[in-house]
């Protein structure tokens, strides 16, 4: 068992080394680029450490669902990431920032002292948290293998894990001098470990919940019977800790060094945040799914404490032990890797380097080596802490100690990116005050007395700042943040920041407004090119310095030899290069030492910034205007096309109308001429015949003209309907009555079928008569000439009244049916000249029915004939009055 666990551990560590190496060598690049959103979201899972993997269950056994608070915080705040984190990402990318200390330092005037303060807070707050992970690995290995480590320190796996982690981070975390270069290998490993620990936890949890019991409800049922205080356990504790824990965990999700590293420094594109906003909360939900069931399962079966999962696993053979142990190992190593990377960088850039380089160093400094040493120091400190103080603390308690410490940075970073008045004095006093309270309420009690391991409430000892009625945890969080905020805001309001600090405040708060070019204009400075060159050489090395300067010269078309003067843009560029290597505060000092800066008044700075804003807003306006113009042009074009089309239709219509008018006119003229010229040669009978034809053609002309005018009124919308309440059957009966004689004369068989149930509705009586007359006379024209048969029916369909007129004529092709309601359709269709009529009747019908909100259509009737139908809605009130 022992040997197999050790072999598996080595294999696992080999796997993550291999994965990181392969990714750095370009393996799976295409996939990783495509899935960068998933990798990013999963890498945020480094939030869940061994504290989650082992500790949550132990805490749930002691104090019920209180453990959930620190997962709810990040979930609650996730919707705001797009606002808060995107801004932090944008600022960091723009200024070449990759750590919290650099971020806060740069915001408050690129001060080394502020960066150093932040770095100190983080080292103090987070190193114990690192030692916790070492402890978790060591203890889990001991539980799994029964190795006794108490006797000899070198048998403790903690030693080896510390060394191996140091190697890993040094190998893959310090490949580049620039701290803001993406560390794809590490991020991929972290994302992989997030998946691994989740799978291990869910498998292990599922096995316990469904193997030992019949699912969660079974566990809870048994627990509620067996445990007298079960219900108290699954309720919220009434200490108010919840609120405060949610608050600080919501902040920690980007303030913990490891979280800032993966969420902000390693963010490749802002869009990835959108995926993380839902994937990360989902991840937290999944990893907590089985915590409560396992906790009670443990209590019921006598497996308790932080390593409940492992003690279950041990009853079920090597596979489960190895799975759970590796899950815990992956949670702990991911945290160790990212945290030590971030802390090591801060230790070297913000604490060690500034003491070295008060002036320009005489010899080149190997910044990377310094960073590597710092990482080793951080991990070694964590190991020492584990050997000393930390061994006796429960997993979860140190976590919260850390959270409270890092949340002291929240005002400086969050308020500082939205409030320009926030000043370095405010930050200094705020953080110092908060950390003092933290020390008195959290650290002091733990130095004086050891924590009681069996009590979930981590901080339960008296301290001088305890407010009566508050739980110690709430007291510590509330009091520290309160003092911090009061000092931060109070001193900010009353302080007068310098130019550099005001500049940075502008640039940070209004990050979305400025372009980079303007920022370089902020410094009116000059120096000689060799000065810059030798400065860069000290930190970047000969080769790199040569490379970047040549690139700059090539891009900007410069010749150093003929013009050795370095302008402010060149100086800004050099500062940016140094920032990426040693942080903004140190970079500023270095640049300032070689550059003769002219004092720029605050007014000038404000003017430059204003100018930049104006240019940008002007650009935006211009762009908007040109877009509007384009849209307008497009609209005009389409309106023109529409008009052209309309005009074509109108021309066509006019031509057809004149054509239709010519026919009767021709006949009339010809006959009138005959009567005039040759009247004397005519028989009286012939004369009468001609006169009759002329009268008929005149009537036809009149009809045509009134139809055209009718249609014009309908189409132009000038036709008003005279809407009253009527019965549709009245219309049908009236029209049939008026045409009965003709129907009988043509020997047409008429069948009428009107439903009794048709309600009255509102319509224009005369217009409806016109529609129905038209349909009926069409039917009479087109029905079978010898055995004519017309069927008329009317009934209600849903909220419409439907009228059908069906003839038994030759019918109309389906393709023509669509166009039969067009004006002069018959006239256009030259092959089929109408027997009579104006060719406008159906077009007018269509207009009338549509004005009533109805529809008219034609269908072929089987076996022979045509069915014309129209439907009008049943209105309860007079719709024309409502417009």
């Amino acid at each position: 068992m022992e040997s197999s666990i050790i072999i598996v551990s080595i294999l696992y560590l080999g796997l993550i080394f291999g994965l990181a190496y392969a990714v750095e060598k370009g393996w799976g690049k295409k996939f990783l680029t495509k899935q960068s959103g998933w990798v990013y979201a999963l890498s945020l899972g480094v939030y869940c450490t061994a504290w989650t993997f082992y500790g949550s269950i132990g805490r749930a056994q002691m104090s019920g669902i209180d453990f959930l608070a620190i997962y709810l915080g990040p979930t609650v705040i996730a919707p705001l990431w797009w606002i808060i984190i995107r801004k932090l990402v944008r600022i960091s990318k723009k200024h070449g920032i990759s750590s919290l200390a650099d971020f806060i330092g740069a915001r408050y005037g690129k001060r080394q002292s502020i960066s150093a303060l932040v770095a100190t807070v983080l080292l103090l707050g987070v190193i114990p948290y690192l030692s916790l992970q070492i402890k978790a690995i060591s203890e889990s290995l001991q539980i799994a293998t029964k190795i006794d480590v108490a006797s000899k320190w070198y048998l403790d796996p903690a030693v080896f894990i510390t060394i191996i982690m140091t190697c890993f981070v040094v190998l893959f975390g310090t490949r580049y001098l620039e701290t803001n270069k993406p560390k794809t290998g590490i991020v991929t490993v972290v994302a992989f470990e997030s998946v691994f620990k989740l799978v291990a936890f869910l498998l292990g949890g599922g096995f316990i919940v469904y193997g030992y019991f019949q699912g969660p409800s079974d566990i809870f049922a048994q627990a509620s019977e067996a445990l007298p205080n079960f219900y108290e356990n699954v309720q919220l504790s009434d200490s108010g800790d919840w609120f405060w824990l949610i608050l600080i965990s919501g902040l920690s999700v980007f303030l913990l060094p490891r979280q800032f590293q993966v969420a902000i420094a390693e963010n490749l594109q802002e869009q990835d945040l959108k995926k993380a906003m839902w994937v990360f909360p989902l991840y937290l939900l999944l990893i907590n799914l089985f915590v409560l069931p396992i906790a009670f399962a443990g209590i019921l079966t006598n497996h308790t404490g932080d390593y409940t999962l492992l003690s279950f696993a041990k009853e079920n053979g090597a596979f489960w032990v190895i799975l759970i142990y590796l899950g815990g190992l992956s949670a702990a190593t991911a945290m160790l890797i990212v945290s030590s990377l971030a802390l090591g960088q801060m230790l070297s850039n913000n604490l060690i380097l500034p003491t070295y380089i008060k002036k320009i160093p005489s010899k080149p400094i190997n910044v990377i080596r310094l960073r590597q040493i710092s990482i080793a120091v951080v991990l070694f400190l964590a190991y020492l802490y584990y050997q000393g103080l930390g061994k006796n603390e429960s997993l979860i308690s140190i976590g919260i100690v850390s959270f409270i410490a890092v949340s002291q940075l929240a005002p400086a970073i969050i308020i500082g990116t939205y409030w320009k008045k926030a000043s370095s004095t405010g930050v200094w006093t705020g953080i110092t005050a908060g950390m003092l309270v933290w020390f008195v309420t959290v650290i002091l009690p733990s130095i004086n007395h050891n924590y009681d391991l069996n009590i979930g409430n981590l901080i339960h000892l008296e301290n001088p700042l305890q407010i009566a009625g508050l739980s110690p945890t709430s007291n510590a969080i509330m009091l520290s943040l309160f003092c911090n905020l009061v000092c931060f805001i109070g001193f900010s309001v009353h302080s007068k920041p310098g130019i550099e600090e005001s500049n940075q405040a502008e640039l940070f708060v209004d990050v979305f407004k400025f372009t980079r070019e303007y920022e370089s204009n902020l410094y009116s400075a000059s120096t000689s090119f060799p000065n810059i060159q030798s400065l860069l050489f000290k930190f970047l090395g000969e080769k790199r310095t040569e490379e970047v300067l040549n690139r700059y010269a090539r891009i900007n078309n410069l010749d150093w030899k003929s013009n050795p003067q370095a302008d402010s843009r060149m100086i800004s560029y050099a500062e940016r290069l140094l920032t990426e290597a040693i942080g903004p505060a140190s970079a500023r000092i270095m640049i300032a030492s070689v550059v003769q800066e002219e004092d720029i008044s605050i007014n000038e700075v404000v003017n430059i910034l204003k100018e930049s804003q104006e240019v940008i807003s002007l650009n935006r306006q211009l762009k908007q205007q040109s877009e509007q113009l384009q849209a307008l042009t497009k609209d005009l074009q389409s309106a023109n096309d529409r008009l052209k089309k309309l005009s074509e239709i109108k021309d066509d219509f006019l031509y057809t109308v004149t054509h239709e008018l010519r026919t009767p006119l021709t006949s009339i003229r010809s006959q009138a001429e005959l009567l005039l010229d040759m009247g004397s040669e005519m028989e009286p009978e012939e004369e009468k015949n001609f006169l009759q034809t002329m009268v008929r053609d005149c009537e036809r002309l009149t009809r045509l003209i009134s139809d055209v005018l009718d249609l014009e009124k309908f189409e132009s919308g000038n036709q008003k309907l005279n809407i009253r309440k009527h019965h549709i059957q009245d219309i049908i009966h009236e029209v049939i009555g008026s045409m009965r004689q003709t129907i009988e004369a043509k020997n047409i068989q008429l069948e009428v079928n009107i439903s009794d149930a048709i309600p009255t509705t509102f319509f224009d009586y005369d217009r409806m008569v016109q529609v129905f007359t038209n349909l009926l006379s069409n039917a009479m024209k087109f029905c079978d000439q010898n055995n004519g048969r017309i069927r008329i029916s009317s009934y209600q369909v849903d909220k419409m009244i439907k009228v059908n007129v069906i003839d038994n004529g030759d019918g109309i092709d389906a393709e023509k049916a669509v166009r039969i309601f067009d004006k002069f359709y018959q006239a256009h269709n030259q092959m089929r000249k109408k027997p009579s009529g104006t060719g406008l009747g159906l077009a007018i019908c269509k207009n009338i029915v549509q004005l009533h909100g109805g529809k008219i259509y034609m269908l072929p009737e089987a076996p022979k004939g045509t069915r014309f139908s129209f439907e009008i809605p049943i209105y309860k009130t007079n719709f024309s009055q409502h417009g």
């Binding site: 004149t658 026919t663 006119l665 021709t666 005959l674 005519m682 034809t693």
Partner: protein, 125 residues
């Protein structure tokens, strides 16, 4: 021997007056109400001149015109289009098809009569 005229139109009023006009002027008049009927009468009577409407059901005036020019017995007889289609392009098309004249409706009886007389005289030379 009286000259033979075929009048093709689907408008009864026009047929009526043209029939009267040409009969009184001494022509032998045949009447067709559509293109089909016109072709039958053309085959049967070989008229000297045909007055053709264009827009007619099934077989239109253009087709009848083509038929006349392609049928050897009547290929050289006169053709006058008498149509309400008054666009320039319509008239050009009619003349291209080999008609001797194109008159638009409404027409003057006298002009039509003159035109018919001219064409028949020219053809018989």
């Amino acid at each position: 021997m009286a000259k033979k005229i075929l009048i093709v139109d689907d408008e009864p009023g026009i047929l009526m007056s043209l029939d009267f006009l040409f009969r009184k002027k001494g022509y032998e008049v045949f009447i067709a109400r559509d293109g089909k009927e016109a072709i039958e009468l053309l085959d049967k009577h070989q008229p000297d001149l045909t007055i053709l409407d264009i827009m007619m059901p099934e077989v239109d005036g253009y087709e009848v015109c083509n038929y006349i020019r392609q049928t050897s017995s009547i290929a050289h007889s006169g053709i006058i289009f008498l149509s309400a289609k008054s666009k320039k392009s319509d008239m050009e098309k009619g003349l291209e098809l080999g008609a001797d004249a194109y008159m638009t409706k409404p027409f003057s009886n006298r002009e039509l009569l003159e035109s018919v007389g001219d064409i028949i005289e020219k053809k018989s030379l």
